[in-house]
Amino acid sequence: MKILDEKIECISSEGMRSLQLERLQRLVEYLTKNSQFYQGKLEETGVAAGDIRELSDLTRLPFTVKADLRDNYPFGMFAVPMREIAEIHASSGTTGNPTVVAYTKKDIELWSMVMARAISIAGGTPDDIVQNAYGYGLFTGGLGVHYGALELGASVVPISSGGTKRQLKLMHDFGSTIITCTPSYALFMAEEAREMGYDPRKSPLKVGILGAEPWSDNLRREIEAAWDMTALDIYGLSEIIGPGVAQECPYKNGLHIFSDVFLPEIIDPVTGRVAEEGESGELIITTLTKEAMPLLRYRTGDIVTISHGTCECGRTLPRISKILGRTDDMLIIRGINVFPSQIESVLLQVEGARPHYQLVVDRIRGLDTLEVQVEVGEELFSDEIKQLQGLKEKIRKEIESVLALVVDVKLVEPKTIARSMGKAKRVIDRRSA
């Protein structure tokens, strides 16, 4: 398969490091000159542009967090005057001020370039018809994919999200070969298709570029079987650029992160210690070449692992894992970092259905305990006690082997786990009470 930007995507590790260092030095200089926000922040930290002599000096730079963006609403993070701004996006802001992100014309070119790479890594070429079912508008998903498809030279159908019947009709009539949407929508569309009497396996789709929400390998298998296509993960966040930060290739060995422009670090979210190769930690990204709103060491909150070996596809770009969890819902139990998503993936494997569960953390006689409550649904229920006990044991052993932690599993009646806004409350931590 052709590699779009071979010079970068297959660069040697020394080549990459010197490119990153050069860009990092230029970035810190740029921010010192143009960003009021970072002028203050760098001064506080006592780091000047000249202090960045090697790549490891990166760790001397201050972190940026989501609250910084909210506190500086709407335009306080911009490093250019408004006349330089080409496009402004914003999050929905359900919990306070929305997060605003902005792009200069050059930033849009960067976005187009990384998204073109992403589509190409997934196997896309100018011959493809990209049905872009990410939402267009303030959400960065729709326009990001759109720009990338244009840059690559593919044909793009800007259908946006929703309108499933029309999605299916145009997909069929136009012969769309690539679908871009969330994984859950890909699965939903397949179900709708079958209900309409249309076999999704006969669709013209070859590849799904799916993202904007975390998803498991089990869900991948389900989507791939439903559509008879390759389903690949795309990673991005609007603070960094939108979609196009990292993309999985058909070898499915992790997501190639575009580290020539988005410098990644993996750290222990509590201690800040740099994680070893393959060890999980929080993904931190520095945008090396952005103009409108560059970010230094932005804490994504996403827990991943990173690996640097050359991929089977030939690319040397480092690969991040799928998102293993979020720092916001990480629990530390007896010194072990536990993410609800780890437990969820075990339950998915045991039952094959999306389970409802709740974690109850407590401290009994000075010792942390973790109880995993699993709702017993119709599909799980056997009226033989020994089968239910077997199921409980199986869940317990699987979770213990994944977490390396002793847990208690309790089977509970359906809908006993409190739900708010249709979303289950996953964790009850009684230790502080």
Partner: protein, 142 residues
């Protein structure tokens, strides 16, 4: 063939009341009941006069309940009444997953309910051996 309702229940005070409340409100009469306990959860098994309706009521109220076919055998309520059934089941190598019994009229007749892997086949065997089996209607209209 008669059906029993199996209900998943957490082992907590008030759980049995909830189930019986729901059934009583809708005029469901319970013929027989057993509870198997396993620490923090248990399985409640019920024979009622309208199993389909009862099962819908329970699932409609968020409980996990399923209908299971069972074999109901009429037994004479006197010493040795159950022994003949035991002997026959042994001879045919039939394994019982779960069973319970209840008396219909003291000193006259009782019912032995068994849960087996292949209830239809077991029904035929028992009928051929001369046992009196209770059908769906017989059982609920006792």
């Amino acid at each position: 063939m008669p059906h029993q309702i199996s209900v998943f229940m957490e082992n907590r005070p008030g759980k049995l009341e909830r189930v019986t409340d729901l059934l009583a409100d809708q005029g469901i009469n319970i013929r027989a009941i057993t509870i198997t306990d396993s620490g923090d959860f248990g399985i409640l098994k019920l024979l009622v006069n309208d199993p389909g309706k009862a099962c819908d009521i329970l699932t409609g109220n968020g409980l996990v309940a399923v209908l299971k076919e069972v074999v109901a055998i009429r037994v004479i309520d006197s010493p040795g009444g159950l022994r003949d059934i035991g002997a026959t089941l042994t001879r045919h190598r039939i394994n019982i997953d779960d069973a319970y019994g209840f008396v219909l009229r003291s000193g006259q007749s009782a019912v032995f309910v068994i849960q087996v892997i292949n209830p239809e086949e077991v029904e035929v065997i028992l009928k051929n051996e001369g046992f009196s089996l209770l059908g769906e209607k017989d059982l609920y209209q006792l």
